[in-house]
């Protein structure tokens, strides 16, 4: 899975951009596992310290036991060496296991916390944040945070400890030789850090270029039918090749730096080795008996160990930068308040008659910019209410308020006389069936998709619902019938078929109140007929609110509310309203006299 939303791009960031206030909040996720983390840290300290002892033992062997031909001494020291290495292996295993266990738990917790929060967030959140961005927060951002917590902190400890430990031992063994060998350290730091940063930036560039390549590919693949229909292959090939070439160049830039990095490090290492050998030899020639072959060998081993922690430290710096950005993004989501929440003492509606009333409802998406002004509507149980009006008049908002996707700013929406804010959201929506314009099909079988309306429904019930809305016909003609996989937004079904599925889904839920946003996209006349019949079946015996685009729906409605600019401007039946004149008649003439075959249009 790849998401080309805003990836983690820290190439242009520096330490001053790190916001520690977000990082501090991570302790919320860490706290339950603090004990394990501390244990892991202790193990890391032990591993690092034990690891530093090795060269001291070889020095001892080379300087004392071998010249003295002390076979037992040599055997002993080898045994100690092997034992130390064995315990390092055991400790490292435990440490890695504890750390990955903890890390995965934390990751799990963060994902769950975020997912659950996402379920509670209102549509205002989804309106404002694209799916891709949400996804990358839940995947790559959380991963980056986990890496920081489990990798970064532990490694930082182990690296600093290694560096300090090596320097301490070297100073203790021979401070003169130690001080001379330290001269490569600043060189190493400067080289590693400056090159690492360039490399990081170069790799970020590579990632952007690859994302461009992939975006181009993605678009080409999803639009391939058009590409071929318009014989665009050659032009597109050229364009792709250009994008591909830029990716090639970015990669070469990064690769060049990469090719430079290790040879440079090795040269610096060789300078260290040469310095130790030369200065050590020099001291020997001056008669310094403290310098022995064993000491030199130990120093040679320590000098080469400088590189790893220095390099790791530069990585950790990067982890911190990424973590800071990710923390900000994650907490942006977690801090987002659900716009609609259950009150502490809500009512659970077990039965609903279906009386719906809007009482002086005013609604603002943004403060002081009302989109509905003082709206009054009423539907008695079993009535079908059609909402008609120009685009942007507020019809969808009315429906959203009834579903409680948003809360009213002033006034109240009542169901059976109860303010819907006093009803548990889950119980409210259980009595409502909502069919939206853009029918969403989950990947899974047709059976599963219909069953989404009532999870406990039997196969027979599902089929019955499909039969009632007339979807049974096309479903049974599919090779796998109800078990046909529909996926990737149900791309293999036509618009009309998707609508029929949505109807079946709603019918199966058997709601008292049905909310329907009639699709404007057209379907062939045969399917149109099916849909009209299905609608009749669906509306029967329920209170229904319909944003109507079909003339038949409008004509059959018990009452029509004409909405304009957030207000109810006319009410009545089709005939009454036509007789009245005004906006309804205007709309009607515009929409339905233009002789389109279907009476949808007017969006």
């Amino acid at each position: 899975m790849h998401f080309h939303g805003p990836g983690l791009d820290t190439g242009d960031l520096s330490l001053k951009d790190v916001q520690f206030k977000h990082m501090g909040r991570l302790k919320e996720f860490v706290r339950p596992y603090a004990g394990y983390l501390i244990l892991a840290m202790c193990l890391v300290v032990a591993i690092t310290v034990l690891g530093l002892i090795g060269p001291l033992l070889t020095r001892q062997a080379l300087d004392i036991y071998i010249p003295a031909h002390d076979w037992n001494g040599l055997n002993r020291i080898i045994l100690v060496y092997v034992l130390i290495q064995a315990s390092i292996a055991v400790l490292r295993y435990s440490q890695t296991y504890i750390m990955s266990w903890t890390g995965q738990r934390i990751l799990f917790l963060m994902r769950r916390r975020m997912f659950v929060h996402l379920q509670d967030l209102g549509l205002d959140f989804y309106d404002r944040m694209q799916a891709g961005r949400i996804m990358s927060r839940l995947t790559s951002d959380i991963d980056a945070l986990n890496e920081l917590i489990t990798g970064g902190v532990i490694n930082l400890l182990s690296d600093v400890l290694s560096l300090v430990g090596i320097m301490y031992i070297m100073l203790r063994v021979n401070y003169r030789l130690a001080l001379v060998s330290f001269i490569t350290l600043p060189l190493l730091f400067v080289t590693v850090w400056s090159l690492r940063f360039r490399m990081t930036r170069a790799y970020h560039k590579v990632r952007r270029r690859i994302a461009d390549v992939n975006a181009n590919l993605q678009e080409s693949i999803s639009g391939m039918r058009i590409v071929q229909a318009f014989s665009r292959e050659d032009v597109n090939m050229d364009r792709f090749s250009e994008t591909n070439m830029r990716n090639f160049q970015a990669n070469m830039e990064a690769q060049t730096l990469h090719a430079l990095f290790f040879p440079l490090i090795e040269v610096i290492g060789a300078i260290g080795t040469a310095t130790v050998v030369y200065y050590g030899g020099l001291r020997m020639s001056w008669g310094d008996t403290a310098i022995t072959v064993g000491t030199l060998w130990a120093f040679l081993q320590y000098v080469t160990r400088f590189f790893w922690p220095v390099r790791e430290l530069s990585e950790i710096y990067n982890l911190i930068l990424q973590g800071s950005v990710s923390a900000e993004r994650v907490f942006e989501v977690l801090d987002w308040e659900p716009n609609v929440k259950d009150k502490p003492d809500t009512i659970w509606l077990s039965n609903v008659a279906g009386h719906v009333e809007f009482k002086n409802v005013t609604f603002e998406y943004q403060k002081d910019l009302p989109v509905l002004h003082d709206v009054n509507l009423e539907a008695r149980p079993g009535e079908t209410i059609a909402l008609v009006g120009p685009t942007g008049a507020g019809k969808s908002t009315i429906i959203s308020l009834l579903c409680r996707f948003y809360d009213v700013t002033r006034g109240a929406v009542l169901i059976d006389g109860v303010d819907i804010r006093d009803i548990a959201i889950a119980s409210l929506r259980r009595h409502m069936g909502i069919v939206l314009q853009d029918t969403f099909i989950f990947s899974g079988t047709i059976m599963e998709n219909i069953r989404y309306g009532k999870l406990e429904a039997t196969d027979e019930e599902v089929k019955e619902a499909a039969r009632l809305v007339g979807a049974d016909d096309f479903i049974s003609r599919l090779p796998d019938g109800y078990q046909t996989q529909v996926g990737e937004r149900g791309s293999r079904l036509s618009v009309g078929q998707r609508q029929l599925l949505a109807f079946a889904r709603a019918l199966l839920a058997d709601p008292r109140i049905l909310i329907l946003d009639e699709a404007t996209s057209s379907v062939d006349s045969y399917t149109e007929l099916l849909i009209q019949k299905a609608l009749e079946c669906l509306l029967k015996g329920r209170t229904a609110f319909v944003i109507a685009h079909r003339l038949s729906t409008i004509r059959n409605a018990d009452r029509i509310y004409v909405i304009d600019d957030g207000r109810v401007v006319q009410t009545g039946t089709h005939e009454e309203l036509l007789a009245q004149g005004g906006l309804y008649k205007d709309l009607y003439e515009k929409q339905f006299s233009g002789n389109p075959l279907e009476n949808e249009a007017a969006r």
Partner: protein
């Protein structure tokens, strides 16, 4: 693994560079053993023999050897990376080119998501392999051999004894790459499942809310999340075990050198310098062994990716140019279906024995239920699919005898689902004719009644639309798509439910534009609107893949068949309405 060799076909054009890079690998590995040997020389022949005047040469030699080696290594890595990147560049281009040739049937079957992962993730794996992995694998192998050779040459007994843990290490490495790596792949799979669940939840949030399915969704997510957790922890635990054992075995080699080497030094068989050199050499030898597992698994993943890539590359386009296909001469517009039948999968017949002769300039309206084969019928004309039986002739030429390109360039298509590209409006309209002048683009936009809207935008025709640009409404998109088809100025037009989501006023104007346009073009329209049906020269009613009725509106009404039924249910109330509306207008 065979596929890795097959992939070398992409490396062929760069074989000289590859050869240079490989030669340098040997030089580097040769120089690599120098440092321990110099150290040995310094310890034994300078320090132990107290010839301190030579010390400076020893120090300079150490730095010099590494500096020279470093310089060469840079050149070697650079050239290898260059080859690798070129190979990947070529693979991408080749894949893209191939994808463009594959037919509609391929895209019907392929899931976009899977296909995407092939062309993105799989090529990226290839890229990693070629730009980094390959260099390192070759270098590891060569270093291993040379170091081993030098060691054996110095003291074969010590070498062999020091090597005792290496087979065990190699075995661990092998087990790691065969047992653990696949598990990491499984983790990737589980992560993909989790991501898919998440994506669906986010995009379907309205439905989730509408049906109050929060708990169900959380359950679903929890299941996937937990599966991922378990897989992760268990795999990492085993991985940690293997890693620590491997670390231990490495150190064991050193201990052996110290132990056996120490004894040899005592007996005078080797010098202390040799022992130090040995321990440095054995480290050089073991590093590649330990990495071997990683390289092997990278090679395996690359092989797997390569296989998936070849699966695409080896898919032959169902619809392709015949050998010796000629360009289609300028089309006059006669279209003939001669006993045409068609099936997507060879099982279900979608079209059966279609016979149709359409004269140049004729407008054909196609009616029929869902699944009756309307779209398929239209899709056969530009050869989006090839007929499975019978033939289609344009101006008397079997369309399978001409080149695809020349055929499709002369056919204008407006598909049911409007797909626009993330590009400027101008580029989108000129999609089929990139060299079109702005004037032409404007004319097409005007004809499709989208010009006024475009000109009202701040950036006009240069406005970028799509994901990263301005969003268009369904109707606007449709009109851009119509403009796109109009600009092609084709003799044959295919319209699939093309005017379905524009508002009525625009709809009427588009109809006007169309009626002018359709006049001297052959057009096939999957009809949605009464006016289309009425104005068509001929109406074709399809049912389950057969033409069941054809004729003009009046003729078909007289027939009293399916058309009449549809008309009575659908169009008649419509006509009455028009009457009402007319009356209302007159009454004003």
């Amino acid at each position: 693994m065979k596929v890795l060799f097959r992939l070398t076909e992409f490396a062929k054009p760069y074989w000289k560079l590859f050869a240079l890079s490989l030669t340098l690998v040997f030089v580097i590995s040769g120089l690599g053993v120098l440092q321990p040997l110099i150290v040995e020389w310094v310890i034994d022949d300078v320090l132990a023999s107290r010839k301190f005047n030579l010390l400076i040469y020893g120090a300079l030699a150490i730095v010099g050897a590494v500096a020279v080696q470093g310089g060469i290594r840079f050149v070697q890595r650079y050239t290898m990376a260059l080859c690798g990147q070129k190979v990947v560049f070529d693979v991408r281009n080749r894949l893209y080119q191939h994808l463009q040739q594959l037919s509609f049937s391929f895209y019907d079957k392929a899931q976009t998501g899977q296909l995407m992962s092939r062309v993105t993730a799989d090529v990226e794996t290839l890229q990693r392999f070629f730009s980094n992995g390959l260099v390192q694998i070759v270098q590891s192998a060569v270093t291993l051999l040379i170091t081993f050779g030098v060691m054996m040459n110095k003291d074969w007994k010590l070498t062999l004894i020091a090597m005792i843990p290496v087979p065990f290490l190699a075995d661990r490495v092998r087990l790691y790459s065969t047992k653990i790596r696949p598990k990491f792949w499984e983790i990737q799979q589980k992560l993909a499942v989790l991501t898919a669940t998440l994506q669906e939840n986010v995009t379907g949030q309205r439905v989730v809310k509408a049906f109050a399915r929060k708990d169900y969704e959380i359950q679903k997510f929890e299941r996937d999340n937990e599966a991922l957790l378990r897989e992760n922890v268990s795999t990492r635990r085993i991985a940690a075990f293997y890693e620590s054992t491997m670390g231990f075995l490495t150190e064991l080699s050193l201990a052996i050198i110290l132990w056996y080497g120490g004894r040899s030094v005592m007996t005078g068989e080797i010098t202390p310098g040799e022992m130090v050199a040995f321990s440095m050499l054995v480290m050089q030898l073991i590093a590649p062994v330990r990495m071997l597992g990683f390289w092997v698994s990278l090679a395996q993943r690359t092989a797997a990716s390569g296989e998936r890539i070849y699966e695409v590359l080896d898919t032959r386009a169902d619809v392709r140019n015949k050998p010796g296909a000629q360009p289609m001469p300028k089309i006059k517009g006669r279209v003939t279906f001669d006993h045409v039948s068609f099936s997507y999968d060879g099982r279900q017949t979608v079209l059966e024995d279609i016979n149709l002769d359409v004269k140049p300039g004729e407008t054909i309206a196609i009616l029929g239920g869902t699944g009756s084969g309307k779209s398929t019928l239209i899709n056969l004309i530009p050869r989006f699919y090839d007929v499975t039986g019978g033939r289609i002739l344009i101006d008397g030429v079997d369309i399978r005898d001409v080149t695809l390109d020349s055929l499709r360039r002369q056919i204008g298509v407006v598909t049911q689902e409007t797909f626009l590209f993330s590009a400027s409006l101008r580029d989108n309209i000129a999609y089929g004719k990139p060299q079109a002048s702005l004037e032409e683009v404007k004319r097409a936009a005007e004809a499709a009644h989208i010009a006024e809207f475009i000109e009202s935008l701040p950036n006009g025709y240069d406005t970028i639309i799509g994901e990263r640009g301005v969003g268009l409404s369904g109707g606007q998109k449709q009109r851009v798509a119509i403009a796109r088809a109009l600009l092609m100025d084709a003799r044959i037009l295919l319209l699939d439910e093309s005017t379905s989501s524009v508002d009525v006023e625009t709809e009427m104007r588009i109809q006007e534009a169309f009626s002018k346009l359709l006049k001297d073009r052959t057009s096939f329209i999957i009809a949605q609107r009464l006016s289309t049906v009425r104005n068509a020269d001929r109406i074709i009613v399809l049912d389950r893949g057969r033409i069941v009725e054809q004729g003009t509106h009046e003729e078909l009404l007289k027939l009293g068949g399916i058309y009449t039924a549809i008309y009575n249910l659908q169009f008649k109330p419509q006509e009455e309405l028009e009457g009402v509306a007319d009356a209302a207008r007159e009454g004003r």
